[in-house]
């Protein structure tokens, strides 16, 4: 078995076989920066709610824990969604047209981490701004004019 697998791998190294896709991520082609945007909006909203929280209320600890937990989860979702867009959707030819793409994604991921670690409206706002930039490039690559809309303007 091992010999056969090695032979097939060698053969593929010399004559690479084309891919027959058996998954969703590539072939279904459904990508949209909206999922990152929605999660980023939740991070911003939780940050604001946490800063406004009245500590004298009896259930403040419970509410605080819930807000923090949601902010953590949503920030993780943003990072995942951005990574999928960056790694799976965008191709080298997009980078030729938009050389700033890598910097934007890098800044967005940095802002997502900062918004997760800290209680920072600035970081959460910066995250949304970078996702806005990604939104513009993304829909430009699709040659579609899609308006940037916030659920919570």
């Amino acid at each position: 078995m091992a010999i056969r697998a090695r032979l097939l791998a060698c053969l593929d190294h010399v004559f690479p076989a084309p891919a027959a896709f058996a998954h969703c991520d590539g072939p279904c082609g459904v990508y949209d920066p909206a999922s990152a945007r929605i999660a980023a909006e939740a991070v911003l909203s939780m940050t604001r709610k946490l800063l406004d929280l009245d500590a004298s209320v009896a259930d403040a600890h419970n509410t605080f824990a819930r807000y923090v937990s949601i902010k953590e989860q949503q920030a993780e979702i943003v990072k995942h969604e951005l990574s999928v867009l960056w790694g799976d959707y965008f191709k080298p030819e997009h980078l030729e047209t938009y050389p700033e793409l890598h910097t934007i994604f890098w800044k967005a991921l940095k802002a997502a981490s900062a918004a997760k670690q800290q209680l920072s409206v600035e970081a959460a706002t910066e995250l949304l701004e970078q996702i806005h930039a990604i939104h513009d490039i993304f829909w430009a690559t699709k040659k579609r004019d899609v308006e940037w809309m916030l659920a919570n303007p």
């Binding site: 056969r4 004559f15 058996a22 998954h23």
Partner: protein, 151 residues
């Protein structure tokens, strides 16, 4: 020396491959588990279309450059190929796309090179297909010799 039936079938497919009559593809993704594993190599027969229950290599409906491997659930004369995933949670198929155009299927998966003895047909027959008996929709009808040759 006694050679088993699956081994003979595999040798025949490799022979056709050596003659340039089969094409080799690499499986990417888990949607055909447990039949096909990610990273395995398969031989595809471009000359004969699959029948319901067999595995098809087909062009993706929105991106013809992408080839997908799926199981044929049914072939309906008016609507085309109904394709399914063996692992439906990990794939998109005719559930999302609807049936594929008659010209979308480019071949039949004939052999898994990594596991030549493995069965390609499903343990349980696919349901929902119209007239899913093997060979029912094949055209032209195969003489017994041709059937034996490509087994």
């Amino acid at each position: 020396m006694i050679v088993s039936q699956p081994a003979l079938g595999a040798l025949r497919q490799v022979g056709w491959w050596a003659l340039g009559r089969r094409r080799r593809f690499r499986v990417v993704g888990p949607s055909m588990e447990p039949t096909l594993h990610h990273g395995e190599f398969v031989l595809v027969d471009p000359a004969w279309p699959p029948v319901p229950g067999e595995l098809a290599l087909a062009q993706h409906p929105t991106d013809p450059d992408l080839l997908v491997v799926k199981r044929v659930a049914a072939i309906t004369p008016e609507r085309g190929w109904v394709l399914t995933s063996d692992n439906p949670e990990a794939g998109t198929d005719s559930r999302q796309w609807g049936p594929l155009a008659p010209g979308a299927v480019v071949g039949r998966v004939a052999l898994i090179l990594d596991r030549p003895g493995a069965r390609l047909d499903q343990p349980s027959p696919p349901s929902g297909g119209q007239g899913t008996g093997p060979g029912r929709h094949r055209w032209p009808p195969l003489p017994a010799l041709a059937r034996w040759l490509r087994r």
